[in-house]
C-alpha cells in the first residue's frame, strides 16, 4: 500500500527583477511585459515552498528532516537569490527571463541534485500572494 507522505518547507527571499526579451525591440518588450519591463527594475517578496515526497523512515518518522531541508534551501537557494537583482546578479538569468515560471525551474534544478532521487520534488513559488507557480506541474 502507498505509505508515501509529502512534506513541505516554506522559505522566503526578496529580490529585484525586470521582464525583458533582449531579442525584441523596446516597444515590443513594453507591449508584452508592460510595467514589469521597467528598465530600472521592480521587486518582490518571494515565498518558496518545497515539497518532498517519500516514505517516512521507520526509526525517525521523517520523510526528510525539515530542519535539514530548511538549511539546504537556505544554503543553495536563498543565499543565491536573497537581496539580489535577479537579472544582474544571478548567472542563471543572464539569458533567461526571470518570470516566476523560470525562477521556479531554476530553483528546482538546484535542489533536484541535492535530494535523494527516490524522492519526488516539487517547487511552488509565490511572486505575490495572488500570483504563484508550481513546477513540475502535478
Amino acid at each position: 500500500m502507498n505509505k508515501k507522505v509529502s512534506v513541505y518547507r516554506k522559505e522566503h527571499f526578496c529580490a529585484a527583477h525586470r521582464l525583458n526579451n533582449p531579442s525584441w525591440s523596446e516597444e515590443k518588450n513594453y507591449a508584452v511585459f508592460g510595467k514589469c519591463n521597467n528598465p530600472n527594475y521592480h521587486g518582490h517578496n518571494y515565498e518558496v515552498e518545497v515539497k518532498v515526497t517519500g516514505e517516512p523512515a521507520a526509526d525517525t518518522g521523517f520523510v526528510i528532516d525539515l530542519k535539514y531541508l530548511s538549511d539546504l534551501i537556505n544554503e543553495t537557494v536563498i543565499e543565491k537569490l536573497d537581496h539580489k537583482n535577479l537579472n544582474l546578479d544571478v548567472p542563471e538569468f543572464l539569458d533567461t527571463n526571470p518570470t516566476a515560471e523560470n525562477i521556479a525551474m531554476v530553483i528546482y534544478d538546484i535542489l533536484r541534485s541535492k535530494i535523494d532521487e527516490r524522492m519526488n520534488l516539487q517547487v511552488r513559488l509565490y511572486e505575490t500572494p495572488r500570483n504563484f507557480v508550481e513546477y513540475p506541474a502535478s
Copy 2:
C-alpha cells in the same frame, strides 16, 4: 521530459446566497441546510484561485500572462458574481443550488471556453478560509 508548469491567479468577490432545493418542503430544506437555508440570505467573501497548466513559451517565459489571466477572470467571472445575490441575480443558479461545489463548476465552465484547450484548467473556490473546494478534482 515534462516541462509543464502550473500558474495560479487569485481573485475575489463578495456575494449573498442561500442553499435551497425548491423541490423539497421548507422543513426538509431547513433540516438539510440549516442556517444556510435562511430565506433572507447570508453571504461570503469568496476567493477564486485559477490554475492553468502548460509549457512556458520560449520567448516570454510565460505559461499564460498572469495580467491577461487576471483581466479574463475579472471580466468573465468577477463582473458576473461580485456584489450579487447568486440565487436571484445570476442565471446559472436559477435552478442550481449555489453550493461552493456548484459555483466552482460554473466558474470552470465560463473559463474553460476562453483558455487554450491544450492547457489544463482547475478552479479552487474559498467560501471561507476554512471551507473550500476544487474542480476538477486532481
Copy 3:
C-alpha cells in the same frame, strides 16, 4: 506604574447586507453606494476582533479569561448576526445602515454592558481583509 495589558479575541460570522438610505431616491442611493446598494443584497465573511484592557488578576494571570470572552461574543454577537441578512433579520439595522462603522458600533454597545466597566473595550470589524474599522477610535 501602568501594568495594564490588552487582550484580544477574534470571532467570525457571515452575513448578507445592502447599503441604503430609505429617505433617498433609488438614483441617489445607487450614486452613493454603487454596487453595495444592490436591492438583492450581497454579503461578507466578517471577522470581529474584541480588545479588552485591564490589569491581569494576581491569582490567574488573566485580564479576562479568553475562553469566557469567546463564549460571550458567540452568545451575544455571533448568534445574532451569523448567517443573517443584517437589513432584514437584525432589529438594530431596521433603520440604521449596516455599514462596517455602524455594525462595529452595534457590536460595541452589545458587549459594553456585559464587560466590567473598569475595563476598556474596543471592537475592530473586518468586512474584507482589506476593509476594516475600529470603534471607539484610539
Copy 4:
C-alpha cells in the same frame, strides 16, 4: 466525464510533543532531533486540512456537507488531540514518534473508517505555517 470535486475543511488544535526514539541513546536522540527532543516537551498550534473527493449529489449540490465534516473532525480528531501531550495522552503515540508525518497518518486512519469509501480522502497537517505534510501523497 469526470465530475469529481474536492472539498476541504480546516480545523485546529494545540498540543505538546517531543520527538524521541526510545531505542536510541539520549545522545543519539539529541543528535537527530535537536531542540525537538527536549525531554520537557514543546508544542504547536496545528492546523488540519481534510480533503474529500467525490461527485456532488444532485439534490444537495454537496460532495459531503462541510458542517457534517467539521463535526466529524471535531468529534474524532480534535477532541482526541486538542490541549493534549501527544506522547503521554494519546495512545497512538505511545510507541510512535509524533512527527508531523505520523500525526497526519494517525488522523487519516481515524477519518478513513468514518467516510464513505467511494470518496477519496487526504489529510494535510500544518505544524507551523512553514512546516507541513500531506498524506497520502498525491
Copy 5:
C-alpha cells in the same frame, strides 16, 4: 461622547530599492545597510494600510467611503510607486533613503493634503509580513 470610528483600507504595490547614504563611503554603507545596500537593488511587495478617523456621517454611515479612499490611494500613491525603482523613478527619494520609515512618511504627506483635515490620518507600511512601520506613531 466620543463617536469617532477609524476606518482602514489596504492597498499594495511592488517596487525595487536599495538603502544607501550617498555622503558615506561604500564601505560604511555596506557596514550599516548590509545586503540592503546591493548597488543593483532588491525589492519587495509592499502593503499600505491607510487609517482615517472621524465621525460617521448620519446619512451614509460612512466616516469616508472606502471605495473613494481606495481610488484615492491608487491614484496618488500606487500609480507613483508600483513597479518602480524607488531610488531612480520616484523624485521624493532622489535624496531621501527609501527606508520603510521614509516611504511611510512620503505616503502620509501625499494623502494628508487630500483628506479632510478634521480627520486623523495614519499610514502603516508593510515591507514584508515581518517588518513594518507606522506614521505618525500613536
Copy 6:
C-alpha cells in the same frame, strides 16, 4: 511637530505550557483553567511582535535597524523560549503562571533594558491567530 515613527518586527517560537496556580486545589485549577490545566502540558506556535517608537535618524532613515532588532529578539527572547516548556525550563515562570499576559510582560522586561530608553516599547504576543495580548496597553 511629531515626527515619531513606530517600527515593528515579528519573530516566532514554539513552546509547551500549562496554566496552573499551585496555591489552589486540583479541582479549582481545573474549574478555572479547563483544558489549559492539563498536567501533561499542551503547546503553541507563538508570534512576538515588537514595536519600537522614536524619530528616524537623519543619516540612516532608521528608527532602529530592523536587522539589529531581529537579532536582539532572537538572542534574548527566542533562544530562551523556543522549543521549551515554559513552566519547567524558564526561570521566570517557576512561580508565575505562563498566561499570554504574563509571557508578554516577561518579554517586555527582557527587551526594555536593551533598547534606548528614549524609545517607547510595546510587545504583542499571539498565542494563536485568534488569541493575543499587548503590553503595555496603549
